[in-house]
Amino acid sequence: MSVQSIWLVPVLPLIGFLINGLFRNSLSKSLTGIIGSGTILLSFVVSLLIFGQVRQPGFHGEVVTLFDFITVGKLSIPFAFQVDQLSTLFLLIITGVGFLIHLYSTSYMHEEEAPHFARYFSYLNLFVFSMLLLVLGANFIILFIGWEGVGLCSYLLIGYWFRNLEYGNAAKKAFIMNRIGDLGFLIAIFLMIRQFGSVSFGEVFDHASSARVGTLTAITLLLFVGATGKSAQIPLYTWLPDAMAGPTPVSALIHAATMVTAGIYMIARSHVLYDLTPVTQGVVAVIGLLTALLAATIALKQNDIKKVLAYSTVSQLGYMFLGLGVGAYTGAVFHVMTHAFFKALLFLGAGSVIHAMGGEQDMRRMGGLRKWMPVTNATFLIGCVAIAGIPPFSGFFSKDEILAAAYAKNPVYYGVGLFTALLTAFYMFRLYATTFAGQFRGTHDQEHHLHESPSAITIPLIVLAALAAVAGFLGIPEALAPDAHVLGKYLAPVIGGEPKSEVAHGTEIGLMALAAILAAATSLFAWSRFKSKPDLAEPTGFGKVLANKWYVDELYNAIIVKPLDLLAQLLVFIEKNIIDGIVNGVGRLVQYSSRQLRLLQSGQVGGYVLLMVVGILVLFLVELFVKK
């Protein structure tokens, strides 16, 4: 299939969205499921065919222009798609993982009524469409359209059960947080237009080296502000844990295939700009590292199974930004890929557990589930091992690549990163042990209800588990086997060169072994500590601070929401009393004067004529006596 037919990839989900959205009242549930998942599957097949073209050696990226989009003066923005190694890799992740999540949803959401079921699938399809647009766009404007699209869809899906006020609030929070970041992105685009007179990737990156470093720093920092919103970094990360309000497959979609990886993609795509601005790189690395650490500490004390996973996503995203900040773009993209597999796996596994528990999400009331759910148990364990960074599972390789690059840049980064990795291993095995090991702690009814999930749920789990287990071998580090980094070689035309480790091979192997042994030890420690006596007590002391998420939400409430609320109340007062007063006063004045003037219309012709004559006389007098 030729690269020109790339437009099929986003259009197919769009068609699915339109059909499911427009005919939601007449389609049966099975038909909705087939349309919703089928369009994504087709899109995945097209992506695979295009991948076949792109992976040929010597393919150097192509821009497929569909039509003119905006032409204003000298600025011309075509509706064009960028087909190269990076975007194709993302296409595969989005449509592949996206399809598995759609398949899973057909079973998970089966209890919804048909119109709502179709509404759900239409949102999912629109979500995938927006993300594909974001990844495929050949300029920042198309990217921005997709960027806004995923923001909208996350709002719609988080608030899918909109009858619950709290869920609606979570949706609004996600949307507003994203809007704050989007503003930064938008200003960055304006700066780019002023500086380069263009927003297409090709032109901006070609002329980047001639721009002043100050301007570039401003552009890259503002782009990063956009990325902190979309990819949930400090200070705009608080929406992501709240986004758990949506159905579980939606969380999987947001966390793995779409949405949060947008920021990583955008920075990896514009790595040319970031390479020129060391200041921004430092900011990105530090923010990423802090986010990783902060979120990992919070995850230690959460008891909601989805909240733990949410904070682990924030933490893993922090890793990716650390990778971007230290220049390990391949490593970051590699981690996006492995993370997509194991995080989708973990969320879908959690969904399977929640399904079996009849909607219960608190892991203090679970326990011992491996007896009832062997497939979920096994796949979930693989996910945990992968995210904990235990070789040879995928998380180890991608995390190690980032950590090695961080070590080369600054050993402090490495130290904090390693510590965070250990925290990750700890809370993941706390989660696993509390949920699957020990005795069942729920009610008798729940115990009676426990069952393994149907095959539409277990098949995606098995596929994702297989991917999470082996995907790491795509990026075997140079130190272990020369010339084995398949992903690095594949991405080289876009991101530039095999990832060169500036650390001696001996040191790197040492670091790797250290990380692997410590992660395994921490995992075993957590497992043995929580498998028989899970941590059920209410946290106290420092644990309480962690359980309350460092009180960040409360802090934001106090320093941003409250003052804004007060200002709003003041403005309401001004609006109601002063502005409305003026407007109503004008109206009342006109009414009053017209009531008085109406008396002149008596119907007596004589009166009218008299007025006319008086008027003429006045004009005469004015003409005669007023000096010009």
Partner: protein, 109 residues
């Protein structure tokens, strides 16, 4: 004869006309007063045109002709107006058996 006399006469006629329109209630008399005002203006136009002609006749042979032309215009318009107006008054009389204008104040509503 100086032009002042013509002007005085015309102003006097005009004022009589205005006063008549303002004070009388009989539609026909109001009508006649309007004619009076029109003719006062006619008189002025003719007088000015004549005097103007005297002042300029040496250089411009057709000076003052436009003033006299206007008079004919006004006469024609007045004739048309009279015919329409009288017709209105006749209809008014047929409908109300009166030609008192104050009786016809229903335009108010």
């Amino acid at each position: 004869m100086p032009i002042n006399y013509y002007i005085f006469l015309a102003v006097a006629l005009f004022c009589i006309g205005v006063a008549g329109v303002l004070t009388r209630r009989n539609a026909i008399i109001i009508f006649m007063c309007i004619e009076l005002m029109l003719n006062a203006v006619n008189l002025l136009l003719v007088a000015f045109s004549k005097m103007h002609y005297h002042a300029l006749s040496a250089t411009a042979p057709h000076a003052g002709v436009d003033g006299q032309l206007f008079v004919f215009f006004i006469m024609v318009v007045a004739a048309a107006e009279v015919s329409v107006g009288l017709a209105v008054i006749v209809m008014m009389y047929r409908n109300t058996h009166s030609i008192d204008v104050n009786f016809l104040n229903r335009l108010k509503h």
